[in-house]
C-alpha cells in the first residue's frame, strides 16, 4: 500500500517522482520497460524550448516558460549538462515574414525574454550555414539544449535517493477502485494498492486513463524520424535552427546537441501504433529535404545513426494535467508532447503542488535535492585523471574509444541508484556506444563488465531489456561439469 503510484518512468513521471520525494509519503513508480527513459523521453529533439510557440494562455505555454526558467538551477542541482545555445526560427519566404512577427508577439505574451527579430544579414552573421534563401529570423536567446537521458535519469535517481521506489518490467494491466476506496493496480508483477495514481504513461496515457474513466481519451502517436551526425560536424550550426511552425508542429530542426553532435529532425507522421518507432526511408529522406530548406549543404554523409520517437499527441494539442473528473484521486499527466521535455520540471512542480494541497503533504526535513552524476573523464587534465585512477584503476581503461568512456564510468553507472543493467542503460548514463562506431568496438567489452559486475549470464545481457538479448548461446555449448 502506497500513497502515490506513478505510472511511467519517462521524463514526466520522473519529474513528478522527484517532486513527491520532497514529501513525507510513500511513492512508487511502475515502469513497463527495464529502465527509466525508454519511451518518448529517449527519442526527441533534446531541446529546452524558449516558449514562444505554444498558444498564449495555454498550459503548454505556461509550463514551457516555467520549465525553461527552472532548468539552470535544476541542471546544477542534478549535475547534468545544459546549455542555452539560443534558437532561431528561420524564414525563407519573403511573404512569410509576418509569421515571425506573430511568433514574436506570442512569445512576448507568453513571457519569453530577450526575443529579437533578425534581418537576413544579422541571421547569416550568427549562422553562416543558413540557407541562401533566408529572409529573416526570430532569435530566442533562452532556447537551450539538454541531454534527455541524463535529465530523466538524474530526476529518477534523485527521487530514488529520497525514498521513491521504482518497479521496472512492471506493466499495468488494469486499474480498479476497490471497496476499500483505494486504487488496485494489477500488473504483470502482482497487484499494487495506492491512494493516488499519477498517469504519466506517455503514448499509453490514453490506455491507462481509459481504465478508470468513462470520458475516453485518444492519443495519436506522431512519429518523428531523426538523424544524428558525427561530432566532426557538431559545430555546423551553433543555434537550434527551426523552420516556421505549421499545424503539425515545430518542423524539422537542425541543432547541436549538448554533447557536441548535430541532430536533424523530426518528421511528423501520425501512426496508430504505440510501439511504432521504426524509421522509414521516406521519413529519413524527408528529414534531409526539409532541413535543407533552412540550412545549406547539410553534411548528411556524416550520419552516425537514425532513430524515431513518438509524440503523445492529443487532438486538442494541450497538456492534460488534472484530476480525472469521474475518477477522484487519479491524476492524468497526458498529451505530453513537445515542449514536454522543456516543461518537465514544471510539470513535476505542478503535480507536486496539486497533491500537496489535496493530500495535505508535509515536507521532509532530510530531503536532498542534489545528486552527483557519473564522473565524466573526457576533458579532465592528466592530474585529475591520475587522481581518479589512483582511487580506482578502472578509470585508466578506456572501454568506448569513440566517446572516450572509461571502465570506471561504466562501473559507476552500474552501481549507482537505479543503475544500468543493459547496454542501452550503460549507454544513456555514460555515452559508451553513442559515438561514431555505434558500439561495434565497446559492446563486447561492456557485456563483459555487466556479466562480471551483476553476475548476468552473457545470454541474458540485453540491449534494452525484454527480448533484446545480444547473444543467443555459447558456441558448441557449455562444457559440462561432470
Amino acid at each position: 500500500m502506497t500513497d502515490v503510484i506513478i505510472i511511467g518512468a519517462g521524463v514526466s513521471g520522473s519529474a513528478v517522482a522527484r517532486e513527491l520525494s520532497k514529501y513525507d509519503i510513500s511513492t512508487c513508480v511502475l515502469e513497463k520497460c527495464e529502465d527509466v527513459c525508454e519511451g518518448t523521453s529517449k527519442a526527441n529533439s533534446a531541446i529546452v524550448h524558449a516558449g514562444f510557440d505554444a498558444e498564449e494562455g495555454s498550459l503548454m505555454a505556461k509550463l514551457n516558460v516555467r520549465g525553461n526558467e527552472m532548468m539552470d538551477q535544476l541542471s546544477k542541482d542534478l549535475d547534468i549538462p545544459f546549455k542555452r545555445n539560443g534558437s532561431m526560427v528561420v524564414c525563407v519566404h519573403k511573404d512569410a515574414l509576418d509569421g515571425l512577427k506573430e511568433l514574436y508577439d506570442r512569445g512576448v505574451a507568453n513571457g519569453v525574454k530577450g526575443l529579437k527579430i533578425l534581418s537576413r544579414e544579422e541571421a547569416l552573421e550568427m549562422e553562416p550555414n543558413l540557407s541562401d534563401n533566408v529572409e529573416g529570423a526570430l532569435y530566442a536567446p533562452t532556447g537551450g539544449i539538454i541531454c534527455p537521458f541524463e535529465l530523466t535519469i538524474a530526476m529518477a535517481e534523485n527521487a530514488n535517493m529520497n525514498g521513491v521506489e521504482f518497479r521496472f518490467n512492471t506493466e499495468v494491466e488494469d486499474i480498479k477502485k476497490g471497496d476499500d476506496g483505494f486504487w488496485h493496480i494489477r500488473t504483470n508483477n502482482g497487484e499494487y494498492v495506492s491512494r493516488y495514481v499519477v498517469n504519466a504513461a506517455g503514448v499509453y496515457a490514453d490506455k491507462i486513463h481509459n481504465m478508470v474513466s468513462a470520458d475516453k481519451m485518444h492519443i495519436i502517436e506522431r512519429r518523428g524520424d531523426y538523424c544524428l551526425l558525427d561530432k566532426e560536424v557538431g559545430g555546423y550550426v551553433s543555434h537550434t535552427i527551426f523552420p516556421q511552425p505549421t499545424k503539425y508542429g515545430k518542423g524539422v530542426l537542425v541543432t547541436p546537441t549538448v554533447h557536441g553532435n548535430l541532430l536533424v529532425g523530426p518528421t511528423a507522421i501520425d501512426i496508430e501504433n504505440k510501439e511504432g518507432t521504426a524509421t522509414t526511408a521516406m521519413g529519413l529522406n524527408e528529414v534531409t529535404a526539409k532541413a535543407s530548406e533552412n540550412v545549406k549543404n547539410l553534411p548528411m554523409r556524416n550520419v552516425i545513426t537514425s532513430f524515431a520517437g513518438l509524440r503523445a499527441h492529443l487532438e486538442r494539442h494541450e497538456f492534460v494535467i488534472e484530476e480525472v473528473k469521474d475518477a477522484p484521486c487519479f491524476i492524468d499527466v497526458a498529451g505530453i508532447e513537445s515542449p514536454g521535455l522543456s516543461a518537465s520540471p514544471a510539470i513535476g512542480e505542478m503535480v507536486g503542488n496539486m497533491l500537496k494541497e489535496k493530500m495535505g503533504l508535509k515536507e521532509k526535513a532530510d530531503w536532498i535535492g542534489t545528486r552527483k552524476g557519473v564522473i565524466k573523464t573526457e576533458g579532465l587534465s592528466i592530474e585529475e585523471r591520475n587522481e581518479l585512477i589512483k582511487k580506482n584503476p578502472a578509470y585508466g581503461t578506456i572501454v568506448c574509444r569513440c566517446e572516450s568512456v572509461t571502465e570506471g564510468e561504466i562501473l559507476d553507472a552500474i552501481h549507482r541508484p537505479l543503475g544500468a543493467r543493459s547496454l542501452d542503460g550503460v549507454k544513456r548514463r555514460t555515452r559508451a556506444g553513442m559515438g561514431r562506431c555505434q558500439a561495434g568496438f565497446c559492446s563486447p567489452r561492456t557485456m563483459e563488465i555487466l556479466h562480471r559486475e551483476l553476475g548476468i549470464p552473457y545470454e541474458k545481457i540485453t540491449k534494452s531489456g525484454g527480448n533484446s538479448a545480444i547473444v543467443l548461446e555459447r558456441t558448441k555449448g557449455e562444457v559440462s561439469m561432470s
Partner: protein, 422 residues
C-alpha cells in the same frame, strides 16, 4: 617526461612489423602501445586461413600470422604496453596514453608510427530504415563474439555487404550451426575475393544477391525479419522487388574506415579518398617524423602488404632519427596523381633523393576493368603501360618506380597513374 625514440601506436600487424623492422634497422628505443589485452590486433579474431602466402610462402590463419610477428617482437625484446589507449598525439610528438597501472602518462618521441588500423562502417552510417533492435552486428563484432568470446549471436542470419569479413562470417556462422539465408550486396559486384565467394558462399549454397540492399528491419526488441530489395543503377531500391527473410541476426559488412581520430588531432593531413593520412615516399605524413602504415593509411586487401608497408615505415623512422630528425626537403617533390579509374595512390609525393631504389606505389581502381591498361605518365610522357586481365575495386593494385628512372627525368613535376582502355 619519459623519452623514447619511436612510439608505435597499435600492436596489430602494421605496428608489429614496423617495430621489428625498426629494431632490425638498429634502433633500440621502441615502444608499442596497444589498447587490447594482447598483441596481434584484428588478426586474433580472423581464425580462417589464407594469410601469409606472400610473406611466408604458406597459408596461415590470422592468429598464426600474428604470432610470427609477436614472437619476433618478444625475441627482439621490443618494449610494449597492453591495455593502453593512446589519448592524444601532439604535433611535437608528445604521446599521451593511459592504462590502469601507469595512469595517464606522456612520452616524448622522436618519431611516431601510426598503426591504428581501421573500423567497420556501422548500421547508422548506412541509413537503413526500420527498428533498432538487438541482433544487428557489424561482421567484425560478430566475429569477435564467435571466435574469441565463444558466443553465437543467433541462428538465422542475413548479411548485408559482401566484403571479405562478411563472406568469412557467412561460413563461420554456417559451420557453427546457423542458417545464413542470403548475402545482399549493394554494388553490382562483390568487393570480396573470388575464393571467398566460392568457398564461403557457394560451398554452402548461400545465395549472393548483387545490387540488393536492406530496406526494412523488423522487430522492436530483437530482429525478427529483414527485407531486401533490388537497387537500380542509382543504388535506390526498386519498388516491387522486396523479399522478406525471417531471421534473428543481421550482419553488416559494408566497408572499413581508417581510424584516424588521433592523426587528425595531431594535425596530420588526410586524403578524402582513403580517409587516411597523405604520405610521401617514406610513408611520412605532413608532420615530420610521423609515419603511417597499414589500414590506418589505406584499407588493404592482404595483410602481407600491410607487413611490407609497415616494414618500410619502421625503417624510414629509424632513418629519420639517424639523419638527425630533419624536416623533409619539400622543394624538389614530385606529385603522384591518380586519375581516370585510379582512385588514389599511396604515396602521393616523392622526393627522389630520399626514395629507395625501388618504390611500390599502391592504388585501387574505382570499378571493374577487364583487359585494361595501368598507365604511368611522367609529366605528359607515358612510360608504363601494363595490360591487366582484370582489375577490381576489392583488390589493391601497384606499380613499381625505379629511382634511376626518376633521376633520368630531370625536372619531372608530376607522375600520373591512370587506367586506359588501350
Amino acid at each position: 617526461m619519459k623519452s623514447v625514440d619511436i612510439v608505435i601506436v597499435g600492436g596489430g600487424p602494421a605496428g608489429l612489423a614496423a617495430a621489428v623492422a625498426a629494431k632490425e634497422a638498429g634502433n633500440d628505443s621502441i615502444l608499442i602501445l596497444e589498447r587490447d589485452n594482447e598483441l596481434g590486433g584484428i588478426l586474433n579474431q580472423c581464425i580462417h586461413n589464407g594469410f601469409g602466402l606472400h610473406t611466408f610462402k604458406e597459408e596461415l590463419t590470422g592468429p598464426e600470422y600474428a604470432y610470427r610477428f609477436i614472437k619476433q617482437v618478444l625475441d627482439l625484446g621490443i618494449e610494449y604496453k597492453l591495455h593502453t589507449m593512446v589519448m592524444d598525439i601532439a604535433p611535437d610528438k608528445t604521446v599521451t596514453a593511459m592504462n590502469r597501472e601507469d595512469g595517464m602518462f606522456q612520452i616524448k618521441a622522436k618519431a611516431v608510427i601510426l598503426a591504428m588500423g581501421c573500423r567497420e562502417r556501422p548500421r547508422g552510417a548506412l541509413n537503413i530504415p526500420g527498428y533498432r533492435p538487438a541482433g544487428i552486428f557489424s561482421a567484425g563484432t560478430a566475429q569477435r563474439l564467435v571466435n574469441i568470446e565463444g558466443y553465437m549471436p543467433g541462428r538465422e542470419v542475413v548479411i548485408l555487404g559482401s566484403g571479405d569479413i562478411g563472406l568469412i562470417m557467412a561460413r563461420r556462422m554456417t559451420l557453427e550451426g546457423a542458417k545464413v539465408k542470403v548475402v545482399a550486396e549493394l554494388l553490382p559486384y562483390s568487393g570480396g575475393l573470388k575464393r571467398n565467394i566460392v568457398q564461403c558462399l557457394d560451398d554452402y549454397g548461400i545465395p549472393l544477391k548483387l545490387s540488393h540492399t536492406v530496406v526494412d528491419i523488423e522487430g522492436k526488441e530483437h530482429v525478427t525479419a529483414v527485407t531486401i530489395a533490388e537497387v537500380g543503377p542509382d543504388r535506390k531500391p526498386i519498388p516491387g522487388t522486396e523479399e522478406r527473410y525471417t531471421c534473428d541476426t543481421l550482419l553488416l559488412s559494408c566497408g572499413l574506415i581508417p581510424e584516424n581520430e588521433l592523426s587528425r588531432s595531431a594535425g596530420v593531413k588526410m586524403s578524402p579518398v582513403t580517409s587516411g593520412p597523405i604520405v610521401n615516399e617514406s610513408l611520412e605524413t605532413n608532420i615530420p617524423g610521423v609515419f603511417a602504415c597499414g589500414n590506418v593509411l589505406h584499407v588493404h586487401d592482404l595483410v602481407d602488404y600491410v607487413s611490407e608497408e609497415a616494414k618500410r615505415a619502421g625503417q624510414n623512422a629509424v632513418k629519420y632519427i639517424n639523419d638527425g630528425c630533419k624536416d623533409a626537403d619539400t622543394s624538389d617533390v614530385i606529385d603522384i596523381v591518380a586519375t581516370e579509374g585510379a582512385r588514389y595512390t599511396v604515396p602521393t609525393t616523392i622526393n627522389v633523393d630520399r626514395m629507395d631504389d625501388l618504390l611500390t606505389v599502391r592504388f585501387r581502381v574505382g570499378d571493374v576493368y577487364k583487359n585494361s591498361f595501368v598507365s604511368v605518365y611522367f609529366d605528359d610522357e607515358r612510360i608504363m603501360h601494363n595490360q591487366k586481365r582484370i582489375m577490381a575495386p576489392g583488390e589493391m593494385e601497384q606499380v613499381i618506380l625505379r629511382k634511376s628512372q626518376l633521376q633520368e627525368h630531370k625536372g619531372l613535376k608530376k607522375i600520373t597513374v591512370k587506367i586506359e582502355a588501350e
